[in-house]
């Protein structure tokens, strides 16, 4: 028994080496939360890969203020309590300066109050739910990414511009907040842009569904003009394979909100509306004009055997945001910035990312442009790429600070969609 206790003590001692807050540390500890197992890993692993690569590149270039980043990865698939207890453990380690968490909205919602309580800055990299900052203020939580509201309004706008006559829409989204919120936002915006729109089928299969065949029959029977889906990961791949074989892509205009993430894995036909929930498309004109991005993309491709899908770009951009915040904080404070100093730095942060710019507003939410397009065949690659692109400016599609997002959607008019840049305008 006491032997066990001694082992425990030794094991713990290694982890919890305290560091004086104001000295320049030997390393910047960073907790990074993503799914590295379970069905969500298909989406989470690119995030982890990108984190690994971008951190390596930052460290090779001298780290942040001369200090290298030391990441600790946490698998979100272990469930709520495991994620929370890991967060607490890492927060207890004073060498950890910041948390990059998390992929799943559920985990973000669970972690946010804990970040506030433990006063450790938490930067979300993928949980885009607009509910994060809706009811509660989170002084220590920042999102240098867009939220579900601009993301899904953009698809409605693109559709309104491209197929103005489409009125019968079918929705098949995953059965949790992300899917339900997206359905609500997309439907709300569609109806604002064209009052004749009706939802002819609305399905929420549960996460991890393997066979969508009955859902596909149900959708086919409803004869929709448009099929909208924000399925992702293995679910999206399954849906695409089954739906494509059964002719769904021929009979309706399909919108796959997270379609870019499977372009390299499953053969999508041409003409499917896809996007990247932000501006993180590695082949976008802005990305291709950026030497650093090209370097990142080729290094990623070389190491992981595929091009960085948008979750990878989101993760890389988020870590760049952390770097920018640190550099701002180092400038602002006398010694090495502590957690509270870093928090100060995030407010109003502006930076150039690999694929565009991001601004962290005073409500801690990010302003990021939205990129949408359709799949087109590519001369360069053996998989389709995004063509007929549009880049909606962030400030035009994001609800203003302090406004209820759903109420704001209700104020939109057909003119709003017409006032936005047109499909194909981003070249």
């Amino acid at each position: 028994m006491w032997k066990l206790a001694a082992t425990l003590a030794v094991g713990l001692g290694v982890i919890a080496g305290p560091a004086a807050a104001q000295d320049r540390p030997e390393r910047i500890g960073m907790g990074i939360f993503t799914f590295t197992s379970g069905p969500a890993a298909a989406y989470g692993m690119p995030g982890r890969n990108a984190a690994e690569l971008i951190i390596e590149q930052i460290n090779e270039a001298g780290g942040i203020g001369g200090v290298p980043i030391a990441p600790t990865y946490v698998d979100e698939a272990q469930g709520g309590e495991g994620v929370v207890s890991e967060f607490r453990r890492l927060a207890g380690d004073q060498s950890i300066g910041v948390m990059v968490a998390a992929l799943s909205s559920g985990n973000c919602m669970a972690l946010a109050p804990i970040a506030d309580q433990l006063e450790v800055p938490m930067v979300t990299w993928n949980c885009d739910t607009h509910q994060l900052f809706l009811g509660e203020e989170h002084p220590y939580v920042f999102r240098p990414n867009s939220s579900t509201v601009p993301e899904f309004i953009s698809y409605a706008a693109y559709l309104a511009q491209k197929s103005p006559d489409a009125t019968r829409i079918a929705i098949i989204n995953p059965d949790y907040a992300f899917g339900h919120d997206a359905a609500q936002i997309f439907t709300g915006a569609m109806k604002a842009f064209n009052p004749d729109v009706e939802v002819v089928a609305e399905l929420f299969p549960k996460l991890g569904t393997a066979s969508f065949n009955t859902e596909i029959s149900r959708i086919a029977a409803a004869r929709p003009d448009v099929i909208f889906s924000n399925l992702w990961g293995a679910d999206l791949e399954n849906f695409v394979r089954q739906a494509q074989a059964r002719g769904l892509f021929r009979s309706s205009q399909v919108v796959l909100a997270l379609g870019e993430s499977v372009l390299q894995r499953v053969e999508l036909p041409e003409g499917v509306i896809v996007g990247v929930l932000g501006d993180g498309w590695w082949m976008s004109p802005d990305a291709q004009a950026n030497e650093r991005t090209k370097e990142f993309v080729s290094a990623y491709r070389e190491r992981f055997g595929e091009y960085p899908v948008f979750p990878a770009m989101k993760m890389a951009n988020t870590i760049l945001a952390v770097q920018a915040a640190y550099e701002k904080a180092i400038e602002a404070s006398d010694g090495w910035p502590g957690r509270a100093d870093l928090r100060e730095a995030f407010a109003g942060l502006e930076l150039e990312t690999l694929t565009g710019t991001v601004t962290v507003r005073e409500d801690h939410d990010g302003l990021v442009d939205q990129l949408v397009g359709v799949t087109v065949a590519s001369d360069e690659h053996d998989f389709p790429v995004i063509g007929e692109m549009v880049r909606y400016p962030a400030d035009q599609v994001t609800p203003p600070v302090g406004e209820d997002p759903m109420a704001w959607i209700g104020t939109l008019t057909p003119d709003f969609a017409a006032s936005l840049p047109k499909p194909g305008s981003y070249e």
Binding site: T36, S37, G38, P39, A41, A42, M45, D175, E202, L203, F204, P205, K206, G208, A210, S211, N213, T214, E215, S217, R218, A220, A221, G233, A234, E237, N238, R241, Q242, A245, R246, G247, V266
Partner: protein, 298 residues
Amino acid sequence: MDIIIPLLVDGLAAASLIFFIAVGLTLVFSVLRVLNVAHGSFYSIGAYVAVSIGGWAASAGLSPWLSFPILLISAALVAALLGPFIEATFIRYTYGKPEALQILVTFALFLIFEDLQKLVFGVQAHYQDAAMQVLGVSEIGGIIYLNYQLLLIALAVVVVVSLRLLMRHTRLGKLILAVVADPEVSVTLGINARQVYSIAFTIGVFLAALGGALATPTSGVAPGLGAEAIVLGFAVAAIGGLGQIEGAALAAVIVGLSRVIAIYYAPAFEPVMPYLVMLVVLLVRPYGLFGTAQARRI
């Protein structure tokens, strides 16, 4: 009215997938009286192996028609490698022990297999859909179906019939039935009960792996498949009556239809249907549709 045909086709297609999950579980229970939680692992291992071999065949440029024998061979391979081994090393020691213990031993095996699969096959989803592609589609009642879905329905019927033939009309079947009826007496009659158990368990593993393999052309395989499969398998086996193969088939049809009807008319209730059906059936018939109580002699 025109919705009836798609409902039936979808219902039967869903039922065939569900049936393949449950049939091996119920067969193993009927002979060994062990509720095998690790059955879900065999299901997903079958899927992984089928995808791996199928992927190799595709990259070697073999004809896509070979996918069908590959699905069968994969299941047979998993059964041959794991069936006798797992039976002899773990399951054998739980015969006649309390059910709680049997469930725990197989649950432990399930946990171990979960991680072993992660270590061997990684966490990414794997796909091999040659078998689905090569068969093409048919239009029934105005809706396009995969011919592969229809093939699965036929295969499920084939499995029910062949298991019945195996049990009633072959020597092996008679040996199995004798052991089921009275293990002690059958041993005194010179039947090698151990061997019968091993064979029955291996057939169960084969059916599980086959179910997993047959699901891959449309659905691929990703971590978490086993956990989903086993709990659905339990539900179907319990509804049909544990150990009742025809019962499992009927239960699969009921569960499949109920899910399909839910998707058509009340999509929110779809995931709850298998368990709701299970709950109602067990409350009305505690031993399942085809199950019977065994009275204790005093």
